[in-house]
């Protein structure tokens, strides 16, 4: 297919985008989908604000408010922020390392469509019996107690979406490790690529625990499991631990590419090669992979006082006030 040949017409362009494996077009798809979900999440936020504007307001019922709150959080984190960052990563990283495309272009496309359909499925819950209402973290006891199928939509939608994110994360890892242009050593990589590399490593380690946690929740809700039922030997707090082993790296997954963007912008506009800040940023990023897995514990620190909890609290100075963030 010649690079000069261009498809003309609206529908052929749509078909092109629907079937593309080109990283730049997939980046645009991520931008559009992420933007769409951002608007949906934003509307949910506005509805919540209207409810909270006046005391004793009855704009939405209490149950609906919980659904809005849950969907706003889930949409913003899983369906808006992560895809928007993937958009940047997809568009920029192959170009920055001098590769023609990512390592597995088909998987790239698959990752996008899985995320997109997972998000659509999750939002379909609004029309199919009620959205999830157990918070974006879906803690075990309240999630198991939630009537209706909202939380089941949450579980299945996030499984599908999470699979897409995991695929993309592995894709970037392989791309960055394998497909750098000749002469581009790790230390010569631009900082955005470095932070993408670290974020992808975090995705690889963080999303499987989420998958496991919500799969166990699915067994409890749908198939009569008792993983989180204390009356039959289960434990609800273990769900929180599993979730936050995912949850804390997740916020770093979201922030590291953003850090990469502004590291890069600084060096561009300062006309400095920013090498040593570069090394600083790199070491910082890599060290984070190890630290952040440990410091996620404070998200659970007000669960019970115990001496080992204190070590985690003191390690994570920037999170000491965390309260089920």
């Amino acid at each position: 297919m010649s690079t000069l040949a261009r498809k003309k017409g609206f529908w052929p362009t749509v078909w092109d985008y629907l079937t593309t494996v080109d990283h730049k077009k997939i980046a645009i798809l991520y931008l559009i989908a992420g933007g769409l979900f951002f608007v949906i999440g934003g509307i949910e936020a506005l509805l919540m604000r209207i409810q909270l504007a006046i005391p004793e307001n009855d704009f939405v019922s209490a149950g609906t408010f919980n659904e809005l709150m849950t969907m706003h959080g889930t949409t913003m984190i899983f369906l808006a922020a992560t895809p928007l960052l993937f958009a940047y990563m997809n568009a920029v990283v192959p170009l920055q390392i001098g590769a023609r495309d990512v390592a597995f272009p088909f998987l790239n496309s698959l990752g996008f469509w899985l995320f997109f359909f997972g998000g659509v499925f999750l939002n379909l819950s609004w029309f199919l019996g009620g959205a999830p209402d157990a918070g974006w973290t879906a803690y075990a006891s309240v999630a198991l107690n939630s009537p209706g199928h909202g939380v089941d939509f949450y579980i299945l939608g996030l499984q599908i979406s999470g699979l897409g994110t995991l695929i993309s994360g592995i894709n970037f890892l392989v791309t960055i490790i394998n497909m750098r242009a000749p002469g581009m050593t790790y230390m010569r990589m631009p900082l955005f690529t470095w932070t993408t590399f670290v974020a992808s490593g975090l995705i690889l380690f963080a999303f499987p625990p989420l998958t496991v946690g919500i799969a166990l929740l699915m067994f409890d809700r749908l198939f009569g499991g008792n993983f989180f039922n204390p009356a039959l030997g289960g434990n609800t707090i273990i769900y929180e631990h599993i979730f936050w082993i995912f949850g804390h790296p997740e916020v770093y997954i979201l922030v590291l590419p953003a850090f990469g963007i502004f590291f890069r912008n600084y060096s561009n506009f300062c006309s400095e090669k920013i090498v040593w800040v570069h090394i600083n940023g790199v070491c910082n990023s890599v060290d984070r992979i190890f630290r952040i897995h440990g410091v996620g514990a404070p998200h659970v620190y007000n669960r019970s006082w115990s001496d080992c909890q204190c070590d985690f609290c003191s390690c994570n100075y920037d999170n000491w006030c965390a309260d089920r963030n």
């Binding site: 204390p230 090394i279 019970s304 006082w305 115990s306």
Partner: protein, 360 residues
């Protein structure tokens, strides 16, 4: 134009001071009323101060560097500096120091606020059993709170009476889903779990309690369902003597003789006929096992600050609540358990409930 800008700035800064004073002493975490809240507040202030200093220093340096080294129209690429050991050491050591400054008080506080050994000793002692220091067993349910004083054998709900100026220890658990016990000006949040019991202590300062008119608002701090935000409880902070006299009154409360008027006696009958007595105990000495205590203890219902935790305590609200509880607390477990009540039954029940008091 410059004058207007200065005035605006001044107005905004004064407003921030004024607005930051917005907070009621009975509910604001920023107006601590006890030792635990004091420690938590001082840690908040310490970390905020550190963060403000860091932000200020970084912003000043940032703006200075931005101004000083801006491009002056020439196309010369600036000198590429490849590292500065001095700077790298400085900006590694300073955060470490800040970390230590923050970590030491935090760790010390964590151990201090978790020290519940006096409670274990008190509970192990048969004669004491939770009288001194006072021990309270908290049990959170959907959407109400149960408070048991094991040293006295008294169970109450919704209004927690606490003596001031002494440490009170708590055992906390939940009966259905996870909740969290929080009295913002006094301390918390400590989760109430279904799989284990948590322990902590609180202390209320009597002088500051007076400023809050001796009532503190308690809240549930962990999403538990549609009425999570409506799962309030109140804390009555009284002197130890007043507490002793209250708990004595509770111990000697005779539920059988409390209904005096004809309407109240009729209400008592309705209470039994409709099955209310099956879940709601009206005596503070409720010997049923925990699983059977599925509704708030109503022994001192008439003395409570609120109906159902959230409605102002008057006759009309009691009737409204009984008529349609789902309207006020969606998802509560009382809805649909007793069918429709006639106006007469409602009035009788209200009179009966208003007679359940230890203070009158």
């Amino acid at each position: 134009m410059k004058k207007l800008k200065w005035r605006l700035l001044l107005l905004l800064s004064v407003m921030t001071l004024v607005l930051s004073g917005c907070g009621e002493p009975f509910i604001s975490t920023l107006i601590p009323a006890g030792e635990v809240a004091d420690e938590q507040f001082s840690l908040m202030m310490l970390s905020t101060a550190i963060m403000v200093i860091v932000v200020a220093v970084v912003t000043i340096i940032f703006i200075y560097v931005l101004m000083k080294f801006r491009r002056k129209g020439s196309d010369k690429i600036p000198v590429q500096v490849e590292g500065s050991h001095k700077l790298e050491i400085i900006w590694t050591v300073i955060p470490i120091l800040l970390l230590i400054v923050l970590a030491v008080p935090v760790v010390a506080s964590t151990f201090n606020l978790a020290d519940t050994d006096p409670m274990k000793k008190a509970l192990a002692d048969d004669k004491n059993g939770g009288k001194d220091p006072l021990v309270v067993n908290v049990r959170a349910s959907l959407y109400w709170w149960e408070f048991e004083y094991p040293g006295y054998g008294v169970i109450t709900s919704q209004d927690l009476v606490l003596p001031t100026d002494e440490k009170v220890y708590f055992n906390l658990k939940a009966s259905d889903v996870k909740h969290s016990f929080w009295i913002p000006p006094v301390g918390g949040k400590i989760d109430t779990n279904t799989d284990n019991e948590n322990q902590f202590w609180l202390k209320i300062d009597s002088k500051r309690a007076k400023e809050a008119e001796n009532i503190f608002y308690g809240k549930c701090a962990e999403l538990c369902g549609p009425s999570h935000a409506l799962m309030d409880f109140k804390v009555k902070a009284v002197s130890r003597d007043e507490f002793n006299s209250w708990i004595n009154k509770m111990k000697n409360f005779k539920a059988e003789t409390v209904a005096q008027t004809a309407s109240a006696k009729q209400g008592e009958q309705v209470f039994k006929d409709k099955g209310c007595i099956g879940c709601h105990a009206v005596s503070p000495a409720d010997n049923r096992p925990e699983q059977a205590r599925t509704a708030p203890n109503l022994a001192n219902f008439a003395d409570r600050e609120r109906v159902a935790g959230i409605l102002e305590h008057n006759e009309e609200n009691i009737k409204n609540w009984l008529k349609d509880p789902e309207k006020y607390k969606p998802g509560n477990t009382m809805t649909g358990t007793y069918g429709k009540l006639t106006e007469e039954e409602l009035q009788a029940l209200t009179d009966y409930l208003q007679s359940l008091s230890v203070e009158k």
